[in-house]
Amino acid sequence: MSLTPEQRLEAYHLMRTIRRFEERCAELYSAGDIGGFLHLYIGQEALAAAVKYATRPDDNVITAYRDHGIALAKGLEAGRLMAEMLGRTTGVSKGRGGSMHLADVEKRMWGGWAIVGGHLPLATGLALADDYNGDDRVTICLMGDGSTNIGYFHEALNMAGVWKLPVVWIIENNEYGMGTSVKRASAVEELTEKARAYNMPAKRIDGNDLQGMVQEIGEAVEHVRDPENGPVLFEAVTYRFRGHSMGDPERYRTKEEITEAQRRDPIFLWAEKLIEDGVATQEALDHIGTQVEEEVAAAVKFAKESPLPELEDLYDHVYAD
């Protein structure tokens, strides 16, 4: 599976959008416009883009709380996402959820989930429904390395494995769960080994290599789409450039480690490749950068001008009719 030149530029645009969206979020957080907890995806954008190009728009995507990038990749509008970050009525859940719970069922983005690992059995259930109904949809379930240590992971994978359900599990191994490195939290350092217990093929992939991931994940998605085949697992090895969430003192790693990792910034790598392959000039990429700047500025403006919810809305949607 390979990308057309248009898609390659579009993917660049998407990754820049995710990056800029989150940089603006960080600024808005510092200014007090965004409250609560904010987890940035900066450094991991390539995976969100890869999921977009490796799947069909009607495939299910579900992820954890580090969800801004995936939400943008799933086609949720930047303005409505930013409005959610600011708790406005125009947000994707009317400000009820905030940063960690971005979702849009019509786009089959089943959300960010703040209880780590809690969404993994849900992914198995989404896939069960498709399998049951004979829909040829695939469920992409993203998770952090940390969540492979909670019981949910093992139960959800086992059930998907034994019932051969169409799930592509993707572990985003960014080396840390909060301040705890993978090797201090997991008895196996190669997280793909955990898939073996559930009888599913598993592969480690470079989480900063967009083209490589589109290829690998794209093939896997089509493999899984065949109801005979059952689930597969990927471990996308990447790195988060920012703290776990805003205000993380980051005592668990060195500045040098971060600087070293930033040399493999996925957006930078992609830009290099586009220029090398003659798909774009530096000027063309800069132009995309300017466009993104304007689009994100418009999203912020939209969010800030949107109304806050009415207090009585609090009581809506406790029970469905």
Partner: protein, 328 residues
């Protein structure tokens, strides 16, 4: 006496107990070098080492489960759950195992463990970082449930919890961690688990509260005293289970009116039990309806800040509720 914050008091208690008793150890996510997500264990890893201040994988049910096992074998585990919202995966270990152990073994096995978790809203944590879970556990015989509202009590009660032969759930008001300050002696003292405390004397009505809400209730009591001449008696519950019914009843018998304030949602919340107790055992003293000021019965604290504020009881809502009841 030095003035310290609620979270510093929690840290001091654990520091002193680690020093005092080699059987005490701490485990939880990032309790080690990072010092805990709220920094309640800051510096303890350096001081006592990784064998006693143990970073765990992301595994709540086993953080508690290994605590139960180690406690059975004579250790004194302190299990940290980063947010009370994440305690639910460990519900089985707490309710089916820890709570029933002493009873099922006919008094042969004890589970001297402490489970600490920050609880409550008001920090824009939204649905999964704001929960109050005390009623779920206070309902279960065999568990002790403690919620301190001052740094003095936080230190003294946590030390008692660590030494207690029973499983103790120790919930800390995260919003109060740095907001609530108070004088705390350095060094050894304990506050017993059990007794509630009359934290303000008054004759017009009694307000019952714990944790963060107790802090706001005291503020509200001063306001109505100053502006309305209404004198509230305030009872800080402190130990929710087992409940100090004597102190709760004595205050009501004096004032004849009760307001119970908690931020958990109302239905079958902690205040329902106090209201039932008062009507069962002090009916003839009742001088007005027993009121509850609580969070609303919705499935979570929403993110958007005006809605969050609307959800949370606060000083001005408490003032209004006191005025309404005083005027009854």
């Amino acid at each position: 006496m030095p003035e310290i914050t609620l979270i510093e008091a929690v840290l001091q208690a654990m520091d002193e107990e680690l020093a005092r008793d080699e059987r005490v150890f701490i485990t939880g996510e990032d309790v080690g070098p990072r010092g805990g997500v709220f920094r309640a264990t800051m510096g303890l890893h350096d001081k006592y080492g990784g064998d006693r201040v143990i970073d765990s994988p992301l595994s709540e049910l086993s953080i508690v489960g290994i605590g139960v096992g180690a406690a059975l074998a004579g250790m004194r585990p302190i299990c940290e759950i980063q947010f009370a919202d994440f305690i639910h995966p460990a519900f089985n270990q707490i309710v089916n195992e820890a709570a029933r152990m002493y009873y099922r073994s006919d008094g042969a096995w004890t589970v001297p463990m402490t489970i600490r978790a920050p609880y409550g809203g008001g920090i824009s944590g939204a649905l999964y970082h704001s929960q109050s879970v005390e009623a779920l556990f206070a309902h279960v015989p065999g568990l002790k449930v403690v919620i301190p509202s001052t740094p003095y009590d936080a230190k003294g009660l946590l030390k008692s919890a660590i030494r207690d032969p029973n499983p103790v759930l120790f919930f800390e008001a995260k919003k109060g961690y740095r907001l609530i300050k108070g004088e705390v002696p350095e060094g050894e003292y304990t506050v017993p688990i059990g007794p509630a405390k009359v934290s303000r004397a008054g004759s017009d009505l009694t307000v019952y509260a714990y944790g963060m809400m107790h802090h706001y209730v005291l503020e509200a009591a001063e306001i109505v005293s100053r502006e309305d001449g209404v004198e509230c008696e305030v009872v800080d519950i402190r130990t929710l289970a087992p409940l100090d019914t004597e102190t709760v009843l004595a205050s009501f018998k004096k004032t004849g009116k009760a307001l119970i304030v908690y931020e958990d949602n109302r239905f079958l919340g902690y205040g329902a039990e106090i209201a039932a107790l008062l009507s069962d055992e002090a009916f003839e003293y009742m001088d007005g309806p027993i009121r509850r000021l609580t969070g609303p019965d919705v499935p979570g604290v929403p993110f958007s800040h005006p809605m969050q504020d609307f959800f949370m009881p606060n000083t001005s809502k408490i003032v209004d509720a006191i005025r309404e009841l005083a005027g009854y």
